[in-house]
Amino acid sequence: MKKWKILAVCALMCGCSSAVSETEADGSTAQPSDYACRVINYYDYSKPVPESAPADDAYYADSFFGGDSRMGGLYLYGTEKYGEIYYTTSLNLFLIDSMTVNDYPDETMLTLLEKTDKKHIYLMMGINEIRQKSFDAWADAYQELIDTLKQDHPDADIYLIATYHPREISGLDDDELDVQLEKVNTKIRELAENNLIYYIDLDPGITDETGLMRTDYTWDGLHMTPEGARAVEAYIKKHVYRRSEYVKEVCE
C-alpha cells in the first residue's frame, strides 16, 4: 500500500513538472505583443566603409559622383556606367555655388547636386583647400552642403571620399602634406560620424608600401592615370554600404 502511495505521489509530481515545462517550452502560448522589438543599426559611422560585395550596374546607374579635378580621373577614364558624374577643375568648397562644372558651363556643382535624383551620392573635395592652416571653416561649409543634401535627398546614401595621399603637391613638402592630410581627413571622418553618412578611405586601394599613391596610378603625383582611375573604381565598387547588412530588427 505504501509503495502504491509513493508511486502515486511520484506520478503526480512528474505530471506537475511536465505541465510546467510544457508551458515554459511552448513559445506559441505567448502572444507577439509580449515581445519588445526595435530596429538597431550596427554600422560604425566612425570607420570607413568596410569591404563588401561589389556594386552592380544598377547601383552605378543610381549614383551621382561629383568633385574636384581628381574626380576628373573617373570622369575621363572610368569604366563604370555612372548615372551622373561631374568634376570642376580647381573646385573650392567655398565656391561650390559659383564655380562652373567642366563641360557644363551653365551649372555649378551645387545646382547639379540639388537637381539629382540619384540615391547614392559620392563627393570628393578638399585637395584645393589642402594648404589652409585650419579646416574649421571648411568643415562648416561642408556641413552646410550636407544639410542641403539631406534636406533635398532624405533617402540618399551620402559618401564622403577622404583625401587620398598624393605623391606630392605643390606648395607643401612631405611633412607638411602629411599634417594637412591628417587634418582634412579628420574633419571628413567627423562629418561622416556626426551626420550618420559614410566615408571612404581610398589609401588601402591605391597606395604603395611608402603610403603614397602608386607611381603608375598618377601622372603628376596627384591626378589619376587610366590605371589609377580603374584602381579607384575597383576599390569604391567593393566598399558599398547596404542597409540590409547592418540594420536588423531585434526582438526581446
Binding site: L95, R131, S134, A141
Partner: protein, 157 residues
C-alpha cells in the same frame, strides 16, 4: 552803445549759426566696401566677367573663418573658369592682419594655379595691394599697370 552791442551780438550769433549749419552739411559718407569694389570693377572694365562673392565665403576662403579681421569686405571674382581676376576691398582695424591673410591666400592660389592654369601664375604673382588707414584693396588683373593706378586712386579717396 547798447544798440551797437546788440547788433554786434546778433551778427556774431548769425555767423555762428551759419558755420554750424555748414559743418552739418559736410557729413562724410560711410565707406562701403561693396560700392568701392564695384567701382573698381567698372573702372577696369570687368563688369561682364566678374561676380561678387557672398561675404561669408570671403571670410571662410580668405580669412579662414576669422570673423574679426575685417568689419566690411567685398570680393569680386571672375566667372570664367581658370581666370584668377579678383578685386577685393577690405575695411579693417588692422591692415597688417589683412595683408598677412592676403599673402597666405595669394600663395595658396598660386600653388593651385601652377598645377591647373600655369598661364595665370604671372598675374597672381603681380597682384596689386594698396592701402590706406583702415582699408586694404586687392586687385588681380591682366592689365597690371591699370590695376595699380586704379587701386591707388581708390585707396587715396
Amino acid at each position: 552803445m547798447l544798440k551797437k552791442f546788440v547788433s554786434s551780438l546778433l551778427a556774431v550769433l548769425l555767423l555762428a549759426g551759419c558755420s554750424a549749419g555748414s559743418a552739418k552739411s559736410e557729413v562724410v559718407p560711410a565707406f562701403s566696401a561693396s560700392e568701392t569694389a564695384l567701382e573698381i570693377v567698372k573702372d577696369l572694365e570687368l563688369t561682364e566677367s566678374m561676380e561678387e562673392l557672398k561675404q561669408k565665403n570671403v571670410i571662410r576662403m580668405i580669412f579662414q573663418g576669422a570673423e574679426d579681421v575685417v568689419t566690411d569686405c567685398s570680393v569680386y571674382r571672375s566667372k570664367n573658369s581658370g581666370n584668377s581676376d579678383t578685386i577685393g576691398v577690405f575695411v579693417t582695424r588692422d591692415n597688417e592682419a589683412v595683408k598677412e591673410y592676403l599673402d597666405t591666400y595669394l600663395n595658396d592660389i598660386k600653388a593651385q594655379t601652377e598645377t591647373y592654369y600655369p598661364e595665370e601664375v604671372f598675374k597672381i604673382s603681380n597682384a596689386v595691394i594698396e592701402e590706406k588707414e583702415g582699408v586694404v584693396i586687392l586687385v588681380i588683373a591682366e592689365d597690371i599697370e591699370k590695376a595699380k593706378r586704379t587701386a591707388r586712386i581708390f585707396a587715396n579717396n
